[in-house]
């Protein structure tokens, strides 16, 4: 097959999960490969479009900094200019990619040269209207360029504010389908220009006029408006130009834009209308009546975005454009469209939301909450009553709306309406009762929830509901979790939790009244769930529950069967009973039950648990008992976990047993900076005996006979929280750090365990031991598994840690008290050997630099302190030795000549030279350097 196939797979793998894909390579190298392939003349357009897509979708992953972004943009630009004229689609895609890269890596915001060049090129492209000579296909390029400019103007408002005249002329000249692109670009530029002016304090007629006649460069200075430019409906105060400005020209421009709006696609028309509405709102000299001529067309439209733009207009201009009659009419249209048989469900749902947030001319409140416009009466909304034939979303949406309608309605009307809604709920429950599907069950409970949140006060109805639900439960015990969920949610969200208690009491009663035949193992587990929940209610007496449990255990073979799950579910009920405030009244019964289980239940674990509860019950006061049971740092999950019910019988438990994954960084490793001198080798204890030895080189070399000698570099880090971490992670425990290396130059790093990290405490220190095979710089990819306070386990990646070349340096591994002379002896020996080409890989090199403000001595003290062998300031000669595990040496002889410093370099591994060179370049910084290899 062709070469494209692996690319296909690689790119779809990257797009599906960039993080997983980049675990096996770096973004740098992947980007380099992509750019390289883009320059490959043999690759076809289709492949190149695919390649560009990675930059189109994830520019910030591939270009993590603005410098990389800039380089990439330059690369793409050169690719762009080499793409043949006919490859329109590819050209358009590259155009979009460059725009993406430039905006997303902040090249635009920081006003880089590349961004400037790119803007110029885009503007030239849209000005080059002679492209018809190349056929219509070239139009796509201009359309794309317009959209790129529009996006750049959106991200940097005001950029085009001095080019409005040019843009206007372009818009006027264009008669092809492209005029939409020019029109939208102009409208956006105009709006932003007006907005910038409106923020200014005093605006003269001249300034105002000059924005329309602008034909200059890009206005970079305006970027202070930044991205905070919200649409005006989101602003507390709309910026306004002073009244009295001469708006004649602007008015005629606005009119012509509106007249031509009809030529735009509906989506673009709606966008244009919004821009123009904002302009009118900011310019007091323009009257909203400008839009009057468009209103009828808009009122009648079948297009959702145009209708939405009309509502925006209504919201902005209220009664200065819409009379009370208009308002009434618009609302009626909305109610009509919200149930129009020919519209799509999502559109109708949206229109219903629009009714609940209808911009009234005289709103009673403006809280942003759902509220019913005064004009929506039960009669008007009658056609929106929910029915069992509606799809779930429509039904729930209508139910919610109608609940609000009848809540507000006059008494007589309201009763009728509420009765209808109640009948509807009953009809839903009937379907559930007739074995409706899971979707019907879920929808019905959601409907119940909506109804109850509005009408739980209507006692007669809410009691009827309880009867009905209990009745249904006796036939369908599988509804237990739905019923528990309903009771929980209603209790949480209503001030008055009485309804839930009544429901639970009813459910307890219906379980008690069930014929024994219905208490099969399968149903029993549902009943136990209900009873467990019922046991949490202090207002419900629990004696019956205990009798029932005892009765079931005695009169069935459950105890002999010894099913752990059933036993555990029974104990879960008991556990909640232990906490019950009326425990004194059922003390004996509960004790009997627990004792019975501990003796008869044929499962050791269950027996033990029951005995444990029995002990707790009989030995502790209720206060102590509840205190113990509630223990756990914040109640919740830890509580459930610490005692019974350990197995996955609830989802909460399941969440405790899984390791959650967070894509955000939680922890990080920060290098501990230390003086090089402290970093002396740990391998230098047994030394004094050798003090008298003569040949220090032999002594030195013999040390390496010991396996593992000097083979490790220890790096010290602080394990801390990242800056903006979730408070959930403020205290984490039992952290296990796992290290992955991106190359094979190092031995595997073993996991490190840290007991805890608290955000407000001193960070623990972590020592990472690296064993190089080759002492090259590397990157550590680190992940952590840890536990949060609520008992959940998490997996999270840490930011990568780079290990630079100098971090691998060790002082020469000689005993601590070795004399300077002896050290020098070793140094000279190694130097001579290297100079004479022994071993084979030895090499010598020279590096020169000019000393700047900083004296050579300072430089040496700062960088070579721990590695100095001899220090002869008077002779202007220094000898430096870096030891790099497993057994490499880099030796420096530094001499100061008249105008430059010479660094002679010797090493027994020439492959290290590039690293040495860049290291020296780095520390000597910006000084002129020359290098000669020897």
């Amino acid at each position: 097959m062709t070469i494209a196939d692996p690319w296909d797979q690689r790119i779809s793998a990257f797009l599906l999960s960039p993080s997983e894909f980049l675990a096996t390579t770096t973004s740098e190298s992947f980007l380099a490969e992509v750019l390289h392939e883009l320059r490959n003349d043999k690759a076809n357009d289709q492949l190149k479009v695919l390649l560009v897509s990675v930059l189109l979708e994830h520019p910030t992953i591939l270009c993590p900094s603005s410098s990389v972004g800039e380089e990439t943009a330059v690369e793409l630009l050169s690719v762009f200019s080499n793409v043949p004229q006919k490859s329109i689609v590819l050209k358009c895609n590259i155009m979009l990619a460059i725009t993406n890269v430039i905006i997303c890596t902040s090249c635009l915001a920081t006003h880089t040269k590349t961004a400037e060049d790119w803007l110029d090129l885009l503007f030239q492209t849209i000005q080059d209207t002679n492209d018809f000579r190349c056929g219509l296909s070239q139009q796509a390029l201009r359309a794309t360029a317009c959209d790129c400019l529009r996006e750049m103007e959106t991200c940097n408002p005001g950029l085009l504010s001095q080019k409005l005249e040019a843009l206007y002329l372009l818009k006027q000249q264009e008669t092809t389908v492209l005029h939409q692109s020019y029109c939208m670009l102009y409208a956006l530029g105009l709006k932003n220009a007006v907005r910038i002016l409106a923020k200014q304090k005093d605006v003269t007629d001249l300034e105002f006029k000059s924005i329309l006649g602008g034909n200059e460069g890009f206005a970079w200075k305006n970027s202070q408006l930044g991205l905070t430019s919200l649409p005006i409906n989101m602003m507390v105060q709309v910026p306004c130009l002073p009244p009295g400005l001469d708006c004649k020209e602007l008015k005629s421009i606005m009119s012509s834009l509106l007249d031509e709006s009809y030529l735009l696609t509906p989506i673009s028309q709606s966008a244009l209308l919004r821009e123009l509405v904002e302009v009118v709102a900011m310019v007091p000299g323009l009257s909203p009546t400008l839009f009057k001529s468009q209103l009828l067309r808009l009122f009648g439209t079948a297009d959702v975005s145009l209708m939405h733009a009309t509502l925006f207009m209504k919201d902005t201009f209220t009664d200065s454009l819409f009379t009370a009659e208009d308002e009434n009419f618009l609302l009626k249209r909305l109610v009509g469209t919200a149930q129009h048989p020919l519209l799509r469900i999502s559109e109708k749902l949206f229109y219903m939301e629009c009714i609940l947030h209808f911009p009234e001319n005289r709103p009673i409140s403006s809280s942003g909450e759902e509220s019913l416009p005064v004009l929506v009466t039960p009669r008007l909304a009658a056609s929106l009553h929910p029915t069992v034939f509606n799809d779930s979303a429509t039904m729930l949406c209508r139910l919610n709306l109608l609940c609000l309608v009848h809540l507000e309605a006059d008494e007589g009307e309201a009763d009728k309406g509420i009765d209808y809604l109640f009948d509807h709920i009953m009809a839903l429950l009937k379907i559930v009762d007739n074995d409706g599907s899971r979707e019907v069950v879920v929808t019905s409970f959601r409907g119940l929830y909506i109804f109850l949140t509005h009408f739980n006060g209507v006692e007669q109805l809410s009691e009827k509901l309880i009867d009905r639900l209990c009745d249904m439960y006796s036939r369908h015990s599988r509804l237990a979790p739905n019923l528990i969920g309903l009771a929980d949610r209603i209790q949480e969200n209503l001030d008055d939790p009485v309804w839930s208690v009544k429901l639970l009491r009813g459910l307890q009663k219906s379980i008690m009244e069930m014929p024994p035949l219905q208490l099969t193992i399968h149903n029993l587990s549902w009943h136990l769930k209900i009873l467990k929940r019922v046991a949490k209610e202090g207002q419900i007496t629990q004696k019956n529950t205990i009798y029932l449990l005892l009765n079931v255990l005695i009169n069935s073979n459950l105890c002999e069967r010894g099913n752990w799950q059933v036993g555990n579910a029974v104990l879960a009920v008991c556990r909640n009973l232990l906490e019950h405030p009326s425990i004194d009244q059922m003390f004996i019964e509960l004790a009997d039950l627990l004792q019975y289980i501990s003796v008869h239940y044929d499962d050791t674990d269950i027996k033990d648990h029951a005995r444990f509860y029995y002990t707790l019950l009989t030995n502790l006061s209720w206060e102590k008992l509840t205190g113990l049971l509630v223990k756990g740092l914040d109640g919740g999950r830890a509580k459930e976990r610490s005692h019974s019910a350990i197995i996955a019988e609830s989802e909460g438990i399941a969440s405790n047993l899984t390791v959650h994954k967070t894509n955000r960084h939680v922890l990080q490793l920060i290098k501990v900076h230390e003086k090089a001198s402290q970093n002396s080798s740990e391998n230098s204890e047994s030394s004094q005996t050798m003090a008298e030895a003569e040949n220090w080189l032999e002594v030195y070399q013999s040390q390496f006979q010991t396996p593992g000698f000097g083979s490790e570099v220890t790096l010290r880090y602080n394990l801390t929280h990242v800056k903006e971490s979730d408070p959930l992670f403020d205290k984490v425990f039992t952290i296990c750090l796992h290290f992955e290396l991106k190359d094979s130059n190092y031995a595997k790093v073993s996991d490190i365990h840290v007991p805890c990290v608290f955000k407000d405490r001193k960070p623990p220190e972590v020592k990472v031991k690296l064993k190089p095979f080759q002492p090259y710089p590397t990157t550590l990819c680190i992940s952590a598994i840890f536990t949060t306070q609520d008992g959940r386990s998490w997996h999270s990646r840490l930011p990568d840690v780079g290990v630079s070349f100098p971090e691998i340096f060790l002082p020469v591994p000689l005993p601590l008290n070795t004399s300077c002379e002896s050290k020098e002896q070793v140094f000279d020996h190694i130097w001579e050997a290297a100079a004479s080409g022994n071993p084979d890989k030895s090499a010598i090199s020279l590096f020169c630099f000019k000393t700047g403000d900083e004296s050579l001595a300072t430089l040496i003290e700062r960088h070579f302190q721990g590695y100095l062998i001899t220090d002869h300031p008077t002779e202007r000669l220094w000898k430096v030795l870096f030891f790099l595990p497993p057994m490499c040496h880099v030796l420096l002889k530094i001499t100061q000549a008249e105008d430059a410093v010479q660094v002679s370099v010797a090493t027994d591994n020439w492959e290290l030279l590039p690293f040495v060179n860049s290291y020296l370049q780095n520390i000597t910084d910006q000084r002129s350097t020359t290098v000669t290899d020897g």
């Binding site: 599906l16 996006e151 696609t265 009828l296 939405h308 999502s346 559109e347 942003g368 009658a382 729930l396």
Partner: protein, 492 residues
């Protein structure tokens, strides 16, 4: 007015979802980040999107009766936008995700929230929401076509074409247009001639060739008939005018006029295509949610427009007609293991007795499979589908002269195998569903006269107008059983 990302996810029963197409818009994401500040929630990687979406839509773990994250009753699925929750309980959420489900395909997009960080703004305050909805609708039409169920290979090729479609309609996350609906792209198109007249953005070129204007008026009638004094029968009619105009010129003017008979009830809830250039205020006044005053405008309804190249829906309306076209009565009597059935259908005298087809489907749910069927019809034929527990009464092209047809007899359920079930139709709750089409008829009386179609262009076009009446959700409930209420209109 932008969207942050777009997905097409497929979901086959019993399988986990799969991303079939996705597109992120990084410059919009860049804006989202800066608008939301510390509240910014990044979009998760594509590999986790299907699971999140399917959970929200209630489509995961079909075998489990209750899953809290999926089924919690306080999570209200009553908005076109859902929120995706990740990182377990207490985690962050991505909102508002707009979704459209068609068969196994789920289309979703995430509009940009252009609002200051803080509490969630109401959905209607966000401009990008309606644009997102429009884009999704367009994508739905593009991917699924008019039939809604394309062959897998057709769909795959349409999915493969999405990148180039988006290059045109949404290159940088800002919708510029909706994708062209599949299968509706016209053939004979020439490039725009250029000149002073601006070419509309919704029209790629101009028509070349014979000039033809076709206007097709379709009315659909829905009905729920209960045959009881306690439950009022309801029916309604809605119509749409589909146009295809093959006319030369950049912006040719066409006017279509709908007329009603002298005492016809006014057309209501009129919605028009954006290509309609102007509307008379009186056309829009009639509204179905309003009480009707007799003085309402009743035509003629003039729609001046400049047509796009493709087939489009010029306008739609609803209408309240005084009687349903077919009035039915359905009576069931249960006796031991059989049901006595009695059906009478009456065609109203105002309706032309000339059908393209007319069928009554009589299903029996929650029974054992049928055995003997001893049923007689006064007109047409009866087809029995025993494995489906369904009687199909084919009335054919005409009702008898009396305009009345009856079906009478007994259906035995002697089998031991259970037939189809339905949670709604238990006991004696049962219905008949009618399917019919009458060419050249509308119930509202609305019509488009061939001579009233005006085209201002050099060549005189051929004008074709048609009209038809089609049934839609036409139910007749058994009057001896309880029937579900189907509309709140009758309550008040």
């Amino acid at each position: 007015m932008s969207i942050r990302a777009l997905w097409v996810v497929s979901h086959e029963k019993g399988e986990s979802g799969k991303v079939r197409f996705s597109r992120r818009f990084p410059t919009v994401e860049f804006r989202a980040k800066s608008l939301a500040g510390t509240q910014y929630v990044a979009i998760p990687e594509d590999c986790v999107i299907p699971q999140l979406l399917l959970t929200e839509l209630g489509l995961v773990d079909a075998d489990k009766p209750y899953v809290e994250v999926r089924d919690d009753c306080a999570r209200q699925h009553r908005s076109p936008a859902v929120e995706l929750r990740f990182n377990g309980p207490g985690g962050r959420t991505l909102w508002p995700v707009l979704t459209v489900t068609q068969g196994p395909l789920i289309l979703a997009c995430l509009p940009l929230v252009e609002a200051p960080p803080g509490p969630r703004p109401p959905l209607p305050s966000l401009a990008s929401v309606s644009q997102g909805l429009a884009l999704l609708s367009g994508l739905q039409d593009f991917l699924c076509g008019p039939g809604g169920k394309p062959e897998p290979d057709v769909q795959a090729s349409r999915l493969a074409a999405l990148p180039s479609v988006l290059l045109q309609v949404c290159p940088l996350g800002r919708p510029l247009d909706t994708p062209p609906p599949a299968g509706l792209v016209p053939a004979a198109v020439a490039p725009s001639p250029g000149g002073a007249q601006k070419q509309p953005a919704w029209k790629a070129g101009v028509h070349r060739g014979r000039a033809v204007v076709s206007v097709a008026l379709t009315e659909k009638v829905r009905s729920m008939q209960y045959g009881k004094s306690s439950q009022q029968d309801i029916w309604d009619v809605y119509g749409m005018v589909m146009c295809k105009c093959e006319v030369e010129g950049v912006l040719p003017n066409v006017t279509v006029t709908l007329t009603l008979p002298p005492n016809g009830s006014p057309l209501q809830d009129i919605l028009v295509h954006p290509c309609v250039t102007s509307l008379d205020a009186s056309i829009l006044t009639a509204c179905s949610v309003d009480e009707n005053d007799g003085s309402a405008f009743s035509g003629p309804y003039k729609f001046p427009f400049s047509p796009p190249l493709e087939l489009f829906r010029l306008c739609s309306y609803t209408s309240q007609v005084p009687v349903p076209p077919i009035l039915g009565s359905y009576q069931l009597k249960a006796e031991e293991n059989h049901l006595k059935v009695n059906v009478v259908l009456k065609l109203h005298e105002s309706v032309k007795n000339s059908f393209e087809y007319c069928e009554a489907h009589i299903p029996f749910f929650n029974q054992n499979l049928m055995g003997n069927v001893e049923v007689k019809v006064s007109s047409g034929q009866l087809e029995v589908s025993k494995e489906k527990n369904l009687l199909v009464w084919v009335l054919g092209q005409k009702f008898p002269k009396s305009r009345e047809a009856t079906l009478e007899g007994t259906v035995y359920f002697s089998g031991t195998v259970a037939g189809p079930t339905d949670p709604l139709c238990t006991g004696l709750t049962a219905y008949i569903k009618l399917y019919f089409r009458v060419p050249d008829l509308t119930l509202s009386g609305c019509s488009v006269d061939q001579h009233s179609v005006q085209v201002y262009s050099s060549a005189k076009p051929r004008i074709v107008t048609t009209r038809e009446l089609v049934s839609s959700e036409y139910y007749i409930w058994n009057s001896t059983g309880a029937a579900p209420v189907s509309s709140g209109l009758v309550v008040l």
